[in-house]
């Protein structure tokens, strides 16, 4: 075995090689970016989506939480939402009637994420307890009138920041964690099938904050991290990421697959959203911080959450200063700010999500409420 001195030399040499290779990769990628989406679309004569002042309206206000809302998820069958709050509860809502169907007191109040199962019969949540708890909504209440936990998924060595059921698969879940790894779990056994990343693996080098599964190819998912990268994973290959996406200059707080499954969006503490292509790895577009009052001295607000409309033409992005921009994805222009409309939230929006049929957007806020937004203007169908 080599001496420590020899190993240290090899370590230094490897570090230098890595740094110069990364630089070369960055330069080579930049050379291939001959255009971004907005320049290309403008050259084709595309014009931005135009909303009238009363086109996107708040049509429901869901009140019931007594603390900040941190996470929300819709069911695939259109109208129900589960939300998680600082008040230590999950609430299941029928968004159409505004009624609460379940209010679940959590064993650990410090919840950060929640998800609805594809069949709408279970919800999952995770947080500072480093575990994911599964609740079956039709289980009888216990003697304290609480819904009992039906399964606990433990194994992460840090907080669970994000979780999502694998689409069309009620027994598998993907998690992202403060322990720098993602996990694939089999809910029926409670066991973790795969760990993505971790010590000495080629995974994230800081907390994972967000995950998103590809709706068109459910074996692929993307993760966003405090290491300023997003990584694409194939669930069959846990040992290394398929690709690492560089570009952001701060924590990547939110990742979301694009509807066609070939791209994904990211939102970051650097104040930008970005669009990446999974097959080529190209960064296709940057959605920069939008200084509406022309003030260049205040630091950029963080992007807290993102979602795409069902065609991908609109990118909804919420920011730490209370803005909630609607971006025209193709032209990289802000076409609306939900944060300044009538009935807008009174504090930052922490999470957002589209209904399964794309007909409504739900925003969850630190003001403790959730709001539903839909298009109520005149629609031209071509």
């Amino acid at each position: 075995m080599s001496t420590v001195a020899e190993l240290k030399e090899r370590h230094i040499a490897a570090t230098e090689t890595l740094n110069s290779l990364r630089e070369r990769l960055k330069e080579r990628r930049l050379q291939l970016l001959d255009t971004d989406v907005a320049s290309y679309a403008r050259a084709q004569g595309k014009t931005p989506v135009s909303f009238g002042p009363t086109d996107l309206v708040c049509c429901r206000i869901l009140q019931g939480h007594t603390g900040k809302v941190y996470s929300l998820d819709w069911t695939p069958e259109k109208n129900r939402i589960v939300s998680a709050s600082q008040d230590g509860r999950l609430i299941v809502w029928n968004a159409l009637t505004s009624q609460k169907t379940h209010a679940i007191k959590l064993p650990c109040a410090w919840v950060m994420t929640c998800a609805f199962s594809p069949n709408g019969q279970s919800v999952a949540c995770g947080g500072l307890d480093s575990m994911c708890s599964i609740f079956n909504l039709s289980t009888p209440l216990d003697k304290d009138s609480n819904l009992p936990v039906s399964r606990t998924l433990s194994g992460h060595k840090g907080y669970v920041s994000s979780c999502q059921y694998v689409p069309d698969n009620d027994s598998h879940l993907i998690t992202g964690s403060g322990d720098q790894t993602c996990g694939l779990w089999d809910i029926t056994t409670g066991l973790r099938t795969s760990v993505f990343g971790g010590e000495f693996q080629s995974g994230h080098t800081a907390d994972v904050l967000s995950v998103s599964i590809n709706g068109s190819n459910t074996r692929m998912f993307v993760s966003g991290s405090c290491d300023a990268t997003a990584r694409l994973w194939d669930t069959r290959v846990a040992s290394r990421a398929v690709r690492t996406f560089y570009g952001h200059e701060g924590d990547v707080n939110s990742v979301k697959f694009f509807p066609d499954g070939n791209r994904f969006g990211t939102g970051s503490d650097d104040g930008t959203c970005r669009l990446f292509d999974i097959r080529t790895g190209h960064q296709l577009q940057v959605y920069p911080p939008h200084q509406q009052n022309g003030d260049n001295n205040t630091p950029n607000p963080n992007v807290t959450s993102i979602a795409f409309s069902i065609s991908g033409r609109l990118l909804f992005a919420s920011y730490s200063n209370g803005d909630c921009f609607v971006w025209d994805t193709l032209l990289a222009e802000v076409v609306l700010n939900l944060g300044t409309l009538q009935n807008s939230h009174e504090a930052r929006v922490s999470c957002l999500g589209l209904a399964a049929d794309g007909s409504a957007l739900c925003t969850g806020s630190w003001d403790t409420s959730l709001k539903i937004w839909a298009f109520g203007g005149h629609r031209t169908v071509i």
Binding site: M1, S2, V4, L7, H11, A14, T15, L18, L21, R24, L25, R29, L33, D34, T35, D36, V37, Y40, A41, Q44, V49, F51, G52, L56, C59, R60, K78, L96, T97, F200, S202, R240, R243, D260, N262, R263, D277, T280, G281, H282, L284, S309, I310, S311, G312, R313, L314, L330, D357, G358, S359, L361, A374, F375, G376, G377, R379, T380, V381, I382
Partner: protein
């Protein structure tokens, strides 16, 4: 952990060597990954090719949130504005 030379400095560098070797092994794996990606880039097209695919994909899908959208429209899109499901406060009678 005992080895043949029992001085403390020998013991701590023994553990250090294994960890260092593991780190170098991981670095070599990362070097390989980046090299593979650089090789892929040699035959990769520019971003403009992808932009066209993106625009086509977006414009071929209908979208309830857009003022102008491909059809056919789904009848359920406007359920958020139908009053039939609202609470029946109008039906509540107040008796004095």
């Amino acid at each position: 952990m005992d080895n043949n030379n029992n001085s403390p400095s020998q013991g701590s560098s023994f553990i250090g060597k294994h960890r260092l070797a593991a780190i170098i092994s991981q670095q070599n794996q990362q070097i390989q990954i980046i090299q593979e990606e650089l090789d892929q880039l040699e035959t990769l097209g520019e971003s403009s090719l992808v932009c066209q695919q993106l625009i086509s994909s977006v414009e071929s899908r209908k979208d309830a949130m857009l003022p102008v959208t491909k059809g056919p429209a789904d009848g359920g899109w406007d359920r958020w504005f139908q009053r039939a499901n609202q609470s029946s406060s109008r039906n509540r009678k107040h008796w004095i």
